[in-house]
């Protein structure tokens, strides 16, 4: 059954093990494709990792003038093919999730391919393998989308444009704010 990345960012500790782990994947040429961002610096220590969301209809590929971004049979959106990519960065700007990066010197775009060399052998991607807090997990697609343990995001409605992603984001508890994910939360009142 298809497995996808699941990001439960409430658990992220901002350690960037995924960022370094990503460099360790054999197809990645020691270039990390993972992001960890501080969400509210100065207010809280909340952070979140972001791998590629692996859109069903990827804006990066649609915006590529040279059709360099291919989608693998399993739905994984791949990095631009080296010989085609002209380094124009359309993908960087088109992606609503802020994922593709372009190396200006080598003129190549690189992004998460879910560690194709690992997933093709049935192993989880590096980020999900090393994540010390289980923020990033490699789970069954059907289950996490349609029977999730908590509210999740995988259909994104941008003013009528609906983009479905294979990567699933788990949301922090926003009902009771039990885990401190609320606005402007400092240490003292």
């Amino acid at each position: 059954m298809a497995k996808v990345l699941y990001i439960d960012y409430e658990r992220c500790i901002g350690c960037k093990a995924c960022v370094i782990g990503c460099e360790e994947c054999s197809g990645h040429d020691h270039l990390s494709r993972m992001f960890v961002d501080e969400l509210n610096p100065g207010e809280t220590v909340a952070t979140s990792p972001t791998p590629c969301m692996h859109c069903v209809t990827p804006a990066c590929a649609e915006s590529c003038p040279v059709q360099a971004i291919a989608i693998a049979d399993d739905g994984t959106v791949l990095s631009a093919s080296l010989e085609k990519c002209i380094g124009c960065k359309n993908c960087t700007y088109a992606c609503p999730f802020g994922i593709p990066r372009v190396d200006d010197v080598k003129k190549m775009m690189y992004k998460c391919d879910m560690c194709y060399d690992r997933t093709s052998k049935g192993r989880p991607p590096m980020c999900a393998s090393v994540c010390p807090t289980d923020t990033i997990r490699f789970v069954d697609e059907e289950e996490i989308k349609y029977d999730p343990p908590k509210p999740v995001q995988f259909k994104w409605d941008f003013g009528g444009t609906v983009i479905e992603t294979r990567t699933v984001i788990g949301l922090p508890d926003t009902e009771t704010h039990r885990f401190g994910y609320r606005e402007g939360e400092g240490v003292q009142e």
Partner: protein, 367 residues
């Protein structure tokens, strides 16, 4: 790979292709007509090559038509041509042309070994193309002026003369041999790297990667063997080798527009990119205010996405996600996810989640 044309109007592609193919065929015909001095110097030995070349041109035209019809491609071409019309842009483009196609600096930055290999292959193939097309389409031929002198004639215009045994003449006769050797060296290096460097590059399948290399080597070897046969073997096996060579070249010409070699035409678009990035004004991120792209490109991208029905607007603000830098886009999604407000400092707006995983203006501040 996606060969499908962009369908805004289902007949657009057919119409444009037909028009372009017609233009190319007419141009080809006239170039042959003039080059062969009204079919006076027609090299019948190259007849098979001629038809394959013509077919290759036709296929390539269709492929390029399909490609340039895609909104992002079309947009970038137009921008490129517009910029190149200014003197500054023209100089810029020439410089890039040298750096990225002449010197292929970006490949050297990837790895020196790969640069070496690619320089051999690319220049080998480009010169071979030049020589082959020139001879096959009869754009260029050599006339024996007297028993010791050749004249090179291009499109019916005599260019220069040279001694039959002169070094220049030998260099020119064997032009294809030299390029062939370069291609063999480059391809061998590439094959060696692929075998030893077991890195699985997911973007490339084995067939897609190995076949072109083997094909190039086959062409080069059969081509060189023709010379070997003629020079040292008194023409033994010449016909067989010639046939093999012809078959490999024809396969190559027909395979060209749909294979790894397709990146060759794409590279010319790459020439546009650096000036596209450098010659326009930078634009600040709507949230953090950091300059992250040119305004022109952001508009172009938004236009291209719109044509693909993939616009990602932020409510009715007139802003799209692409008006924020990558980091702010990632952060905004997460902030929205846990119900925090997103302050677009630069744009002076406050956003919140729209309940459907997108963003909207904060309630009470509806615009």
């Amino acid at each position: 790979m996606n060969f499908y044309p962009y369908e805004e109007d289902s007949f657009l592609f057919s119409k444009k292709s037909a028009r372009n193919v017609f233009i190319v065929l007419v141009l080809l015909f006239f170039s042959i007509y003039i080059g062969s001095e009204r079919f006076g110097y027609f090299d019948m030995a190259l007849y098979g090559y001629l038809w394959a070349t013509v077919l290759c041109f036709v296929l390539l035209t269709i492929r390029i038509t399909s490609w340039t019809l895609r909104p992002p491609t079309r947009r970038l071409w137009k921008q490129g041509i517009k910029m190149m019309l200014s003197p500054k842009g023209f100089v810029f483009a020439l410089k890039t042309l040298y750096a990225s196609i002449g010197e292929q600096k970006f490949i050297r930055n990837r790895s020196f070994y790969r640069w070496f290999q690619h320089m051999f292959i690319s220049w080998g193939v480009l010169f071979s193309f030049g020589i082959t097309f020139a001879l096959v389409l009869n754009w260029l031929h050599f006339e024996l002026v007297d028993s010791k002198t050749y004249a090179a004639v291009a499109f019916g215009i005599p260019l220069f003369r040279m001694g039959v045994d002169s070094i220049l003449a030998i260099a020119i006769y064997h032009g294809l041999n030299w390029t062939g050797i370069a291609v063999i060296i480059g391809c061998s290096m590439a094959l060696y790297r692929r075998v030893t460097d077991e890195k699985k590059i997911v973007e490339q399948s084995k067939e897609y990667d190995f076949f072109p290399l083997l094909l190039l080597i086959a062409i080069s070897i059969t081509g060189s063997l023709l010379t070997v046969s003629a020079l040292w073997m008194e023409g033994a096996f010449y016909f067989g080798i010639g046939l093999a060579h012809q078959v490999t070249v024809i396969v190559f010409l027909l395979y060209f527009p749909f294979s790894k070699f397709w990146h060759l035409p794409l590279r010319f678009l790459a020439v546009v990119v650096p000036m596209y990035h450098a010659l326009q004004a930078q634009k600040p991120c709507a949230r953090c205010g950091r300059e992250y792209a040119t305004g022109t490109q952001i508009k172009d991208v938004q236009l291209a996405l719109q044509k693909r029905h993939l616009s990602v607007p932020i409510d009715k603000t007139g802003l799209h996600f692409s008006d924020m830098c990558s980091e702010c886009r990632r952060v905004s999604h997460r902030l929205g996810g846990y119900g925090a407000k997103i302050h677009l400092g630069q744009a002076g707006l406050v956003l919140e989640t729209n309940g459907k995983n997108g963003l909207q203006l904060e309630k009470g501040e509806k615009g």
